[in-house]
């Protein structure tokens, strides 16, 4: 009851596309922020925000990948 399973996707939607696009955008943006700030000095804001962007992007991409795997499983199940 405690776990929060990923919602099983019924079809590929525009929202999925937005999630993947946002995730894909966040990772390079976070890396650029980290590189540019660390090149000048090691500061908490730079690490915090750059790291958060990368983590958020990775989470989004992981979520999209997990949903895609569930989607494929369901398709295979229904085909059988």
């Amino acid at each position: 009851m405690r776990g929060r399973p990923i919602l099983r996707p019924e079809q590929f939607t525009i929202l999925d596309l937005c999630h993947i696009g946002l995730g894909g955008l966040m990772i390079p943006l976070g890396v650029i922020i980290l590189m540019r700030t660390l090149a000048i000095a090691v500061t908490i804001p730079g690490i915090l925000v750059g790291g958060a962007f990368v983590a958020f992007g990775l989470h989004r991409v992981w979520l999209a990948w997990s949903r895609y795997r569930l989607y494929r499983q369901d398709r295979k199940g229904s085909a059988k």
């Binding site: 405690r2 540019r36 000048i40 000095a41 908490i44 958020f56």
Partner: protein, 583 residues
């Protein structure tokens, strides 16, 4: 003189046009709400306000429960919350950067960590007790009538300040357009004796807006879930665009690093900024307020709530980092009335459009947030009246519109008085934010206490989501209690912000406790006169209430879990359970 008058009239016409547009959008999209009201009127059960119906004569004895229709979806729940919490950054950005200077990102991050814990606590409580009422209801369940009352008055203070603060901020963003009309806002500032720089135009606009909101709410017109969804979505896109394009096109890391290293605030200034930063996260209660209208709340609320918590956290820290990498902190302090619009207008290529658009969107979303204050006040006081924590005067329902007009008009007046007082101080938004932070942190302390207490006093209610980090402990009766370590950490964190507010906020530390004290005096007098226990509790059948709530939410699996848990408990105690088949 004549030119000034013409400009003033032009400005007034412009703002009226914007309000009319907002009203039109609201009216067009609130048919669903109006239909609901009409159904309630037709069924003679009163209006659908806060989940409680009233007879026309406003007699509390005849109050009966009317369930709100559950039509808020997962996306609706998210954007409903975002329309409320997302608006805070429009106010907080200028105030926090102005106070915490180069250390503003750290202030946002530190307050954000406490906010994450608050958010997780609300997620557990709102998914376990999906009723409109929020912190007041949890405190009532966990701490009894007096605790519920104190939490209620802290939230009432917050909602009332919410009306004043967001109406002031909304008109502040509208004033972004005044230079386009050739009007200088500073021309309307007057000094009367010891009162310096009282801006009569801004004050007038704010008072008119509050009166307008009162009128809307007395007539029962409010923005629907659809309006919240659309505005929440547009705002989310806009805020993300400002952050992302700000980083790509305008951000100068050397400026950020310079301000971080050489313009870091003194400890007291940082503490002040840290305590103000909490206001950029206030409003998560709106998800619990909407819980009674959410489909399958136990499933939806944890998802939306956690997504919302992290979105707002990343955006708040992101705004401060991008802001200090584009502009010096002094510029934010000089533009604390419209910081997001000012920041957006400094993004190359896009600034010409992004600035005015951010100002317009800021004015709209803050207007809606201010309306949330009016609605929250009246819902909350209605709920408190239902549980006999305040007198029946607040239960009065307008004979024609079936809305709690006394509560709306009464708290509207309080909001207007607070606005006028705040305008007489040197920094109007700072004064209101002072009080806002006091009410929020005080209320959150009681919510954390309730979370911990309810784990012990009500371990049988199914919790679809639990805050992480729990220690299992077996009690003497054999039942297992999970002690929420994060709840204690959160209580510690929010208590530290509360202590900071009391130490550093000169107005908040006097006006806040005075408000609570006055309300407690009223409570003592009311309960004595009504023959009710002052510090004791009026009997409530919480188990039946919880059954009804889960049943109405169509959470049948949880309902069965709850029933079985109660039967097991009764068996262990050797009594025939009223929840078993033969009970």
């Amino acid at each position: 003189m004549l030119t000034s008058a013409c400009k003033l009239v032009l400005a007034a016409l412009f703002e009226i046009a914007i309000w009319v547009w907002e009203l039109t959008a609201s009216v067009k999209c609130c048919r669903m709400v109006q239909n609901r009201l009409q159904r309630c009127r037709a069924s003679r059960t009163g209006e659908c306000f806060g989940g409680f119906g009233m007879s026309d004569n406003g007699d509390t004895a005849t109050a009966e429960r009317v369930e709100l229709r559950r039509d808020v979806t997962i996306w609706g729940s998210y954007t409903w919350g975002y329309a409320d919490v997302g608006a805070d950054i429009y106010v907080a950005l200028g105030l926090v950067i102005g106070a915490a200077q180069g250390g503003a990102p750290l202030a946002f991050a530190a307050a954000g960590l406490v906010y994450i814990m608050i958010g997780l606590a609300f997620t557990e409580l709102a998914s376990s007790y999906p009723v409109a009422g929020g912190g007041h209801y949890y405190s009532l369940r966990g701490l009894g009538d007096f605790g519920g009352f104190v939490a209620g008055v802290a939230l009432l203070l917050d909602y009332t300040i919410d009306i004043a603060l967001f109406a002031t901020a909304s008109t502040g963003y509208l004033n972004f357009f005044l230079p386009y009309l050739g009007i200088n806002l500073a021309d309307f500032a007057v000094s009367i004796g010891p009162l310096q720089n009282v801006n009569l135009l801004w004050l007038g606009e704010t008072l008119v807006m509050i009166i307008f909101l009162r009128w809307l709410n007395v007539r029962g017109i409010r923005e629907s879930s659809l309006v919240n969804e659309v505005i929440g979505l547009v705002d989310l896109i806009m805020e993300m665009s400002v952050v992302v394009f700000g980083f790509i096109l305008a951000w100068k890391p050397d400026l950020l690093v310079h301000q971080w290293l050489h313009e870091f605030p003194t400890p007291r200034e940082f503490m002040y900024g840290f305590s103000l930063a909490i206001i950029s996260f206030v409003g998560l209660e709106s998800i619990s307020q909407a819980a009674q209208e959410t489909r399958r709340p136990a499933t939806i609320i944890p998802r939306t709530s956690i997504a919302l918590i992290f979105t707002v956290f990343i955006l708040a820290v992101g705004f401060s980092v991008v802001g200090l990498g584009i502009l010096p902190w002094q510029e934010f302090r000089a533009h604390e009335a419209d910081p997001v619009a000012y920041l957006a207008s400094h993004i190359p290529y896009l600034g010409v459009v992004a600035g005015p658009f951010a100002a317009f969107l800021g004015a709209t979303i803050l207007f809606i947030s201010s309306n949330t204050g009016v609605m929250g006040d009246s819902r909350l006081i209605f709920s408190m009246s239902h549980f006999r924590l305040v007198g029946p005067w607040f239960h009065h329902v307008h004979p024609k519109y079936h809305t709690p007009s006394n509560a709306i008009i009464g708290f509207g007046w309080v909001g207007m008085v607070l606005t006028i007082i705040a305008f007489l101080t040197p920094r109007v938004l700072d004064t209101l934010a002072n009080l806002y932070a006091f009410g929020a942190t005080f209320g959150y302390m009681l919510v954390f206490t309730s979370l911990i207490r309810l784990r012990f006093s009500d371990p049988y209610t199914p919790r679809p989501y639990k805050v992480p980090l729990n220690l299992k402990r077996r009690r003497k009766d054999g039942s297992i209690v999970e002690i929420p370590v994060l709840g204690f950490l959160g209580l510690l964190g929010v208590s530290s912000i509360f202590a900071t507010v009391v130490i550093t906020h000169e107005i908040g530390r006097i006006a806040g406790p005075a408000w609570v004290l006055l309300c407690v005096i009223y409570y003592v007098i009311f309960r004595r006169r009504s023959g009710l226990p002052v510090f004791g509790n009026v009997p409530h059948d919480w188990e039946q209430e919880q059954m009804d709530v889960l049943n109405n939410a169509e959470e049948f699996e949880l309902l069965e879990h709850y029933r079985q848990a109660l039967i097991r408990r009764d068996r262990q105690q050797g009594i025939l359970s009223r929840w078993s088949e033969g009970g």
